[in-house]
Point group: D2
Chain length 378, copies 4
């Protein structure tokens, strides 16, 4: 078994999910390559050491430039706030490393383009972590679309609703709330949530030609997490909705917010085609809804497919039919797929170029929200 | 158009549903026979007159014997408390009338048998009002079973859960609470609710060979509605559950209660066969769940069939696809089916003999609950 | 009891629902006024006569001008294709009649404005038939909003999805398919389906300030129903989606189509407020989803409220708790509410002015779809 | 950190789930004790070695007696077929080991009693692996019951439905199908599935006083997995249903089968109390349904609680609110709870005595199925 030496930058929420994925993947998937938890990097030394001990990282770094240039590192895995992705990726490409990067790929499309160009120039494989593609029900959806089971697509309909910022007393910025800080995050729900929805849409229904959008910031100012006496304007988008025309003629509607009381993680999509429809909801991620227009009309209806049989994507690697997997497994799947690509010398998606495509749509959405005009999105 | 002169006895809840059905049926179904609301009978003269005015009954009676013997009456429709069904039906049979009777057919199987024998001796058609057979989704279930879509049946699983007597201060007996009075009702949930479940089971899965049962009365005594200072023991069953072996080898489970907090009218059944399964819930009566084992394994799951397309039972007579009908429509359907039988000179089910079959199971259930032994049920 | 003499124009789908409502309302609701089915009017004399016989209309007319000017008629009820509403309403106002009109009120806002002005000049009450306001679950939603249970509203999200025109061989125009003919219908899904969604939105969340929209015609040409050898371009919108900004600052998303395979009548809305959320789906119209943020966090979640208890809107007039009503009942409720307004001499909504407000939004939507620009919507 | 040296016997399905639990627990839960994967034992040496390599077991054994008597082993974890549990447990108790045992505890209550007595004599802690208690939604249900939120319990209703043996060509016995072999399994669905349902019932609603039951074997004979030319009678129960009376007066219904087409792992329970109801379904294990009778009647209904907030049992240890966990996590939770008990020197349940209590009910169920009589169950 060959070792793939990982250097992880960032020990927050995504640092945890990636650490777990590297540790678990070989227990459930057969690969000739095994990720080695070689080094982890974050600025707070004691916390980083504790993190390393808990997850089994062999060494720690406090400066990402050091990690990126360590000769024993094969993969640079970027799990830091969005405003650092570009610089790290450019340095990693320069150092000839394989790049894995959390989403959204960058602060804007210009950064993303530079990252793609650098990585493609280096010739190393890349991956952007749009982990929801690896939910078995979503992978199944892709398979059904590719098999032509929906026929021509008329409609794509996506939502990503949460409610965790509805409290006006929640502060912004700082270590755990940087997603509310435009300096660190680039945007609000557009980059954080809609990026997921857009990536799935591009994968499932093809390129988006143009968009018209609106954004809103409901709570106009918040205290700073790191300086509670200071109140500052909120610069991110709390909510964003847009209409889209796909290149294939389908119509799209997209909406995201962190102000939908009671919706914790409602990432949904529905696709209506001439031969059938499919619908997915992350809050019931073990299921896919499917309507087959060719079914006998007497007994036709949406089928709730529990996606946990042995013939469903990824599921034969886990337990037995009827046993659900969860959120963390999407990260294990994406590492497994990536290892598979390395072993076969084949490209796997989504790579940085896919992350750039999503960034182009995000930029078009934000531009349309500013201008009130339809914007091209690719 | 020929007129069928109805004499309705009873102006309670069922009197209303039957009145509405007679008035509505010819607006939605084409029949050569039209029910005439000829006479309505109840003991309270002013209330009966008001009822007649509201629903369009042409005349009123206060003594059911008078009504039964009126020569202008074709049909005696019995909507009174259970302890009066037998006497009225025997008199109606004697008078050569068509009999329509609310469920449960009688206080016990012995009464029911005498009613059947009298009616069959008279040679007139009969109907027992197990209206839930006429929910389009339930009729569709019957059609699927008859077409062999489930194959051999392994399991039949029924519940009928309500919660309206959970308040210990609810009195018993009297005009509106006779269902809590064993003298008037014969039994509690067994005759009131399980009779529905049993009728559907016999229709959908065939005869029940034997049963073992338990009953319980949770609130042991209640005040009388008509005499609030008097507290009396409660003699009905508040809850009843039984196991059944069907003649075809299937296993059955049945349960009913009026103490299931939050369940208002949850009348459910599920049938598991070798080729598939179906499931129904009265609280979502516009749907039937269907699982077809022969479906492509990749996209197999329970289908939620909205039973409101033009090709579904009864539905072409109503509005357009996607428009729900409700509770009252089951009574309209059963009148329509009955008229159809009269027009064609054909027997329609359920008739009094079917009501007797259900009564035999009810009696076996109650006997088993008393003795603790399995009892034959037919 | 006083009689209110109805003159109905149109014997199609809506003619049936209105006829039924007039015949049923006094059986379930106590009113001093009783609708009289005085005259029905349609062009095809034999069919009109049969319709009158079936539903109990006392007389027939073939020219709506005659009916409108009959002195014995109190109410002119307009159930004809959209392109006739304006002329009939203007004539009815001129004749001093009460006007009831099907939705959408008119072909465009200009017609609608003239109808409102004429009706208000006549001083007679009016009603536009946005029947979905009278679904008990929807009326309950209004009540919850008015009680302040949601607090400040952040989001309004509506869909109205159907699939009945997905077959490219379906012809356009003619007697039963005039909804596909822009000459008769004015628009496609915008006037037919989104008008419902918009009316509910205005009622539940207040005025819409501006919109941006897109429309699409997926099947570009169809045969004529009345001349099957002739193929003509399809001029209606098959699908329409728009973003909205409400006057109160809430964001709205709206979408409608007749190309959503498997969605028969999926008219949904969801409202997210600072204190809670509600969600409704016409395909499960007996339920309202409600999330109360103030609930104990340990047991907090969306409640599925079965809207069939005695304390729910309209329900005490029907059967017993747990018994569903259906589509047709919405029309009975609106007649009952209208009679109540007449009896009390009070205005009831939605009246023609409300129909005009919806028409203004529809016009803004269609204008935005043409221009690609945000449009004011009131 | 102190090490707890585990000796695992059995490398099948449960061997995998336990191995994963030991490896994962300290990454997510803070414990002073860390399980060490010291030794794994199974008869097939090459397969055992491969299993050890994959999961990180430090040594292998092929004879469980050797493992049980190794002085470096603290815990004997029994994941072998049911007919070996008793002998291993008795030896482990004799050797003074901590015992963890898969369910059902034994082949019958007599074995179970001997196991309990031996373990209690040894004075070491024990655990029986009824992992479903550790689903957060189920643990929450227990918490709600214990807080008195349901009040007096009227009804307990459980099902455990699967369909994986519906194919008559499936063989019996052998390495992977020993659950169909009465010699190895003791019983069919009663020990395999109903044992789970019974354990949850005893935990949530208290002791069961008596039962009446029926069992059935639908497919009467099957080929042997290890000798495909030999057909033998099937001696296990394919399906089992029973009625129960709880010591507290509640009524119970229980049913299990492997012949419910389309039900993969439908382990459900519903409890109806005087103050409310709760309902759970393993096929949607991230949710708990809860009905609070004290809610304002206008907005009362079953709440779907997504059990993934930080205040829900176990969930603060995982990801962020809205991120589901899966089947394997129940095993991690039970190890964590067990470690917690060891650290605090406190008893944790379910221990072997709880496994014995369930076995008593299973025996009573099987005895009642044989005799047709009610049987005491404790």
């Amino acid at each position: 078994m060959r070792s793939l030496k990982i250097g992880l930058i960032g020990t927050g929420f995504m640092g945890r999910t990636h650490s777990n994925a590297y540790a678990q993947v070989n227990k459930f998937f057969d690969h000739a390559i095994q990720p080695a938890l070689t080094a982890v990097c974050a600025t707070n030394a004691p916390k980083t050491a504790a993190f390393a001990a808990q997850w089994g990282w062999e060494s720690v770094e406090s400066d990402w430039r050091t990690l990126v240039n360590r000769p024993d590192i094969d993969v640079v895995d970027i799990c830091t706030p969005n405003n650092t992705h570009c610089a790290i990726a450019l340095a990693a490409a320069e150092a000839g490393k394989i790049i894995i990067c959390e989403k959204p790929l960058a602060m804007n499309a210009d950064e993303a383009r530079r990252m793609v160009e650098a990585a493609e120039h280096s010739g190393q494989p890349t991956m952007v972590s749009f982990n929801y593609r690896r939910i078995p029900a979503v992978t199944l959806a892709k398979q059904l679309v590719d098999e032509g089971r929906l026929g021509r697509i008329f409609h794509y309909r996506a939502k990503y609703l949460q409610d965790w910022t509805i409290n006006p007393n929640l502060p912004q910025g700082g270590n755990t709330l940087w997603r509310l800080d435009a300096q660190a995050a680039g945007s609000g729900v557009t980059g954080d949530l809609l990026a997921h929805s857009i990536d799935l849409a591009l994968w499932l229904a093809g390129p988006i030609a143009q968009v018209t959008a609106m954004t809103e910031t409901f709570i106009k100012e918040r205290r700073l997490q790191d300086d509670p006496d200071t109140v500052k304007p909120v610069a991110i988008d709390d909510a964003c909705a847009f209409l889209a025309r796909f290149a294939n003629g389908a119509l799209g509607t997209f909406e995201s917010t962190r102000y939908a009381c009671g919706r914790k993680n409602q990432n949904t999509f529905e696709i209506n085609g001439e031969k059938g429809s499919i619908a997915f909801d992350l809050e019931n991620a073990h299921q896919l809804e499917y309507y087959n227009h060719a079914d006998d009309g007497l007994v036709r209806g949406f089928r709730t497919i529990p996606v946990w049989d042995g013939n469903h994507p990824y599921m034969s690697h886990w337990w037995v039919p009827g046993c659900a997997i969860g959120y963390e497994h999407t990260f294990i799947h994406q590492v497994s797929d990536f290892l598979d690509g390395l072993e076969r010398g084949e490209k796997r998606v989504p790579d940085l170029r896919d992350g750039y495509a999503t960034q182009l749509v995000c930029d078009a959405v934000l531009a349309s929200a500013r201008t009130g005009m339809w914007q091209p999105a690719r």
